[in-house]
């Protein structure tokens, strides 16, 4: 049997091998999503192929290899271009089996850098049939302070007259006490990490604090805050940290949301800074931005909510990466004045999925059959950059990493 059975036409480009995610269902740090949107990367113009990443020192990172247009009898080898960065641990010696699809496992090196897994024909140094570009990232911990917020109303003497504590179920689970609530949030954060660890980003809860909001923070006597009240209270909150992302778990909100991630630069551009500056010559008090992650504990939020909203906090689809201005809230097509709206298998898989073309309201049937489970949202984070005229929302992996170490990320 010949190794190549595809009829090759004159101007046809044939990809004999391909790569894909090695599992279905929820995101998993060892089985990263692969950016296989075409073969163009504006950021690395010489690279043409699928891309994935891993965090330095990650072990058993697994990717699915497919013999797309080549016989099972063809001898193929998976070879790392830099074993110090990507050391292939399976299959042994890189020799691929005759199976149409099989897993390749590798261990990431200690240092960051770019490498590739090349599929070579017949010998370990034979001709290259395909490449998987691999980026090894240094670890960035995104520090979090989780506030378990209670909302109270007080009378003129300061006595509490009404209060809204956390409901039970808390984030859809029976959590009758504080330890159970802490464990629930911690579990959510751990599972949100599954999508971000391959990008070298690790959400780390530094501490849990009990925080009380009342009229001084919310600006009203509400027990169920709206957007304006939430953002004001987030800025004026007791216990607000200057060295962590403040994660406010609020019992309820009139906003009908599961969560909301507000990056500092977006808050700054909106004037979401409290308390308001008094007119001169009164001295300005210490003022704070509303930047934070807000989660509603009575909602159907999931770990994916944290992964998605933290994407916003890390400026994804909140700031225009070309102009730096706040001009969008979601991904492809949701750009102010943009016409690039689309609804395809790529946009349906994305962690930062579009809002214009794909409604977010339940049931989100459009999410089915995209590889993450029935009605489950995707966790795909893009690597490649496209020309600005085509799409400004890609290159999410690098944008998020840049944002996470930039001045003002932990804006107080």
């Amino acid at each position: 049997m010949p190794d190549f059975r595809t009829t090759i036409w004159k101007s046809e480009r044939v990809y004999m091998v391909d790569f894909g995610r090695a599992k279905t269902g929820e995101a998993h740090r060892r089985f990263p999503d692969i950016d296989d949107i075409g073969y163009h990367d504006d950021a690395f113009a010489a690279e043409h192929g699928p891309i994935l990443s891993a965090m330095a020192r990650q072990t058993r990172v697994t990717v699915r290899f497919h013999r797309a247009e080549i016989s099972g009898g063809a001898r193929l080898f998976a070879v790392s271009t830099d074993p110090n960065l990507v050391r292939i641990t399976s299959p042994a010696h890189g020799r691929l089996s005759a199976d149409r699809s099989q897993n390749i496992e590798f261990t990431a090196g200690n240092a960051p850098g770019p490498a590739a897994i090349e599929v070579r024909y017949n010998w370990e140094d034979g001709p290259v049939l395909g490449r998987l570009y691999v980026r090894i990232y240094a670890r960035i911990q995104v520090l979090m302070r989780v506030h378990l917020v209670t909302i109270v109303q007080r009378d003129a003497l300061g006595n509490i007259t009404a209060q809204q504590g956390h409901p039970n179920p808390f984030f859809s689970k029976n959590c009758p006490n504080r330890p159970a609530r802490v464990a629930r949030v911690q579990d959510f954060v751990n599972r949100a990490n599954e999508a971000w660890v391959p990008h070298g980003i690790v959400f780390t809860v530094v501490d849990f604090v009990d925080t009380v909001w009342g009229q001084p923070q919310l600006g009203s006597a509400t027990l169920s805050p709206n957007f304006a009240e939430l953002t004001q209270a987030g800025a004026l909150s007791p216990n607000r940290s200057a060295v962590s992302v403040n994660v406010y778990c609020v019992p309820t909100s009139t906003m009908n949301i599961t969560g909301m991630g507000i990056p500092p630069a977006w808050a700054r551009s909106q004037g979401l800074r409290f308390p308001p500056a008094p007119l001169p010559p009164a001295p300005a008090p210490a003022r704070h931005l509303s930047s934070a992650l807000y989660l509603v504990s009575s909602s159907a939020a999931t770990p994916q909510t944290i992964a998605h909203e933290m994407g916003h906090y890390m400026t994804l689809c909140a700031l225009n990466p070309v102009t730096g201005n706040a001009d969008q809230w979601h991904s492809t097509g949701d750009v102010l004045g943009g016409t690039h709206t689309r609804d395809d298998i790529v946009s349906r898989r994305r962690l930062m999925h579009p809002m214009v073309s794909i409604p977010n309201a339940a049931p989100s049937n459009w999410r089915n059959n995209t590889g993450y489970g029935n009605l489950a949202a995707g966790s795909y984070i893009t690597y490649r950059r496209l020309p600005a005229a085509q799409d400004i929302t890609f290159q999410e992996s690098q944008h998020a990493r840049t944002a996470a170490v930039a001045p003002g990320f932990y804006a107080a």
């Binding site: 909106q270 004037g271 201005n325 809230w329 001045p407 990320f409 932990y410 804006a411």
Partner: protein, 289 residues
């Protein structure tokens, strides 16, 4: 209390005798030593409480000493305390970590550049700016110099502006010089208010908010007359609402403390009478010039 002091002296004495350099242990030194120990032991709450109790300069000296600790968790704790107890030493601790090998520590230090609020720290900021390759960090340091410096710092900012090639860094340096009163830089920013691009106008407005001089509001007529859509202001998942350039300009008037009968921040889509009132206010500033 006296007994505790004497006990501390006794405890310190053998150490002092054993060393070549004689250290006189005072209550302040004891506190410094205690803070160093609690930081090294990662007793977060105790260390913070102690730092708050101490003279800020003493706490800062300890933070500066411990900022280079081998353990990243200690360096993070140092920065955490530095954010709560500002001092020269705390600022130097922050600046010393801007190029930390651990990206988490570096990220926290970068975020605290704005906490370096002492005029005496300006030379350190210039030095850190020169050593740092990160353009965003350089820009943040330039703006911080603009915030805490004075006109005496203009030549050094100008020198770096002339060398800078990155447009964003040049904007940051120009904004810093403008804030410190440099007329040439102010004119550069003011000219951008009439740029044909919406983004350039919005950026100029934000820069003028940073410069913080309400007299610059007299140049706002072109932006208050600009009804083009500029910034999305709707919460996520809501129907998209955007602020126009004129709404952003009115917001800048509020930020600058120019009296209006309404607040234009947080940003919102203002009514026509509100825009007209803002325009009238700016025209009166033009006439008062």
């Amino acid at each position: 209390m006296q007994l505790k002091f004497l006990l501390n002296l006794l405890l310190a004495f053998p150490v002092s005798c054993g060393a070549q350099k004689v250290t006189v242990m005072t209550p302040d030194n004891n506190l410094k030593s205690e803070l160093a120990q609690t930081i090294a032991g990662r007793n977060v709450d105790t260390a913070k409480a102690l730092a708050h109790r101490m003279p800020p300069g003493d706490a800062g000296a300890v933070l500066q000493d411990m900022a280079a600790n081998q353990r990243s968790s200690i360096r993070l704790l140092v920065l955490d305390i530095a954010s709560e107890v500002p001092s020269e030493g705390a600022s130097r601790a922050i600046l010393s970590r801007l190029q930390d090998a651990d990206l988490t520590v570096r990220a926290v230090a970068n975020s605290l550049i704005g906490s370096c609020g002492q005029k005496s720290i300006v030379p350190d900021l210039f030095a850190a700016m020169d050593q740092n390759e990160d353009l965003l960090a350089k820009g943040a340091m330039a703006r911080q110099i603009g915030t805490i410096g004075d006109s005496g710092d203009l030549p050094r900012l100008r020198e770096r502006y002339n060398k800078a090639r990155d447009p964003q860094l040049r904007d940051d340096l120009a904004a810093a010089m403008a804030r410190l009163g440099d007329e040439r830089s102010r004119n550069v920013v003011v000219r951008r208010l009439s740029d044909s691009e919406v983004d350039a106008r919005v950026k100029a407005l934000h820069d003028i908010e940073y410069i913080g001089d309400p007299r610059l509001a007299r140049h706002f007529r072109p932006v208050l007359e600009d009804q083009r859509e500029a910034i999305a202001i709707s919460p996520p998942h809501d129907p998209r609402v955007s602020a126009r350039v004129c709404d952003v300009a009115a917001g800048s008037l509020t930020a600058l403390g120019v009296p209006l009968s309404f607040r234009a921040l947080p940003l919102r889509r203002l009514s026509e009478p509100e825009i007209q009132e803002a325009l009238q206010r700016v025209m009166s500033l033009e006439n008062a010039q």
